[in-house]
């Protein structure tokens, strides 16, 4: 299970890559392996506002429907359009091609709540909750 050290993580199994005042978000390797084959992704609209902790996207595997919660609040500035036709990239390359959205952060203090890769690995080892 990969957990790149340069990324931050949420307790809901998203990774966060800080890019200035923006963050790129996706689901972790652990999350995609738990979900199984991803066959559908519902992404939010660009320019929509989301609050930290709110469900903003839905990822569906063959058998399960999972809400994705925003690790930080802000405005959606980019969504990964490739997920519409090739949702499997979320399984194949969760930290790269399989990214979900880019958010312009409303309150950078929320970044302080995120976990380091070590802390996230510990969370998974304890059962993922």
């Amino acid at each position: 299970m990969k957990t790149p050290t340069e990324l931050k993580y949420s307790r809901d199994h998203e990774w966060v890559k800080i890019e200035g005042n923006r963050v790129r978000i996706g689901i972790t390797d652990f999350a995609q392996s738990q979900l199984g084959d991803v066959v559908f992704v519902e992404v939010p609209e660009v320019d929509s506002n989301i609050a930290a902790g709110a469900g903003f996207s839905v990822v569906e595997s063959v058998k399960a429907v999972s809400d994705i919660y925003a690790p930080v609040g802000g405005v959606i500035v980019e969504v990964n359009e490739a997920l519409a036709d090739t949702p499997e990239i979320m399984n194949e390359d969760p930290y790269g091609e399989g990214w979900l959205v880019v958010i312009e952060i409303a309150d950078s203090a929320e970044l302080g709540e995120l976990l380091s890769s070590d802390e996230y690995e510990k969370l998974i080892a304890e059962g993922g909750h």
């Binding site: 199984g36 084959d37 559908f40 595997s61 063959v62 058998k63 429907v65």
Partner: protein, 367 residues
């Protein structure tokens, strides 16, 4: 709260990397390598399933024929020894207690194979219906394990392990006392995937060894261990009903679209009057197959909408690996069940367009 049970293959599943979930009171693997990969293996090559959770009830005695004939909607007078029949088992109101396979082992001996989640309920129902019939009912569920080897290469693989000529075993026939890899089994040419294949009944203590032998025999044929996840997508594409979804105490076989297994001409049976009335006057609801033409996946229990009102409910919905489309089955008002009909599936509060298509969604070629 009751604890979920383990099949005799529980340890085997862990060793093969199965991801265990609870299903119908049993701990079973939902997948090993992945639902899509396992699904494709069964469609193109072969997959091996543990279906030991299924229930088995033996009906034996001079009145066995009359008892079973009264219990089920299909006509078992058409059975001969070693032939199998599928049938719903109904309440008097036409609702379904369960759907099952009937194995005729002899003129006075029938083996009924029932759904895991319904074993207790079915057993009580059969006891209630025993009345004065001269029969003996035995619940063999805990003493029977079952493996399902499914896929176009199933015959090739299983033939390596037995001297019995499986090519001569026709669809919906079985053979008792078949030696497979040195274990005594009952082998039937049946399944729940829409593919050719076999269901192999054995003693619980032989199940793990049989599993290993079959996996070995299939090693060079692309055989994969297959979990409940693909079992559901496979049966769904073939439009085989799943109790609790397309069939229930509130959905009759005629509404579910399996009226061919209701034989009103065989004489009285449980549910006869209600089903005869439905047949005469037509059903008001029917299970329709649909493809989601908008973006989204329909899931069981999602509302089906048309003309600004709710006209039905999704019974099963999924991405279909074989069709590469999002498809579903839904119980709708009968006027919306015709092929070509359009309606919406309400997915997370939004209406997503869908269109009725012909069933089954998938049909195998050849045997």
């Amino acid at each position: 709260m009751t604890t979920a049970k383990q099949t005799p293959l529980y340890e085997t599943h862990l060793r093969y990397g199965g991801r265990i979930v609870e299903f119908g009171g049993w701990l079973l693997p939902v997948q090993y390598s992945g639902v899509l990969e396992e699904h494709r293996a069964v469609r193109e090559k072969a997959g091996l399933f543990d279906v030991s959770h299924m229930g088995e009830v033996l009906v034996k005695g001079p009145d066995a024929f009359t008892f079973v004939q009264n219990l089920v909607t299909n006509d078992i007078s058409r059975l001969v020894d070693h032939k199998i029949q599928y049938s719903p088992m109904c309440y008097q109101d036409g609702g379904v207690v369960d759907d099952l396979l009937i194995y005729r082992q002899g003129a006075e001996e029938y083996l009924l194979v029932i759904n895991a989640a319904n074993i207790d309920k079915d057993w009580l129902w059969m006891q209630e219906n025993k009345k004065n019939f001269s029969i003996e009912l035995t619940n063999l569920s805990d003493n029977t394990a079952q493996l399902a080897l499914q896929g176009p290469l199933a015959e090739t693989i299983l033939s390596q392990l037995t001297d019995t000529n499986l090519a001569e075993l026709e669809y919906y026939w079985f053979l008792p006392k078949v030696m497979v890899a040195g274990k005594e089994t009952l082998v039937s040419r049946t399944g729940y995937t829409g593919e050719d294949g076999f269901e192999i009944y054995c003693r619980p203590e032989d199940a793990a060894a049989l599993w290993e032998s079959i996996m070995m025999a299939g090693k060079d044929h692309g055989l994969l261990p297959a979990g409940l996840g693909c079992r559901d997508t496979l049966r769904f594409e073939a439009c085989l009903p799943l109790y609790g979804h397309e069939l229930s105490k509130d959905i009759s076989p005629l509404e579910a679209g399996i009226g061919m297994f209701v034989k009103l001409d065989k004489g009285d049976f449980n549910g006869y009057a209600a089903l005869a009335e439905q047949k005469k006057n037509g059903v008001k609801r029917r299970v329709a197959g649909f493809v989601v033409t908008g973006r989204g996946i329909a899931r069981a229990e999602y509302p089906i909408m048309a003309d600004g009102r709710r006209i039905g409910t999704v019974t099963t919905g999924s991405y279909s690996p074989s069709l590469d489309k999002n498809i579903g089955l839904g119980l709708v008002e009968v006027e919306f069940a015709k092929v070509g009909q359009q309606f919406d599936i309400e997915i997370r509060g939004k209406n997503v367009a869908a269109q009725v298509i012909a069933k089954p969604f998938y049909k195998r070629e050849g045997k």
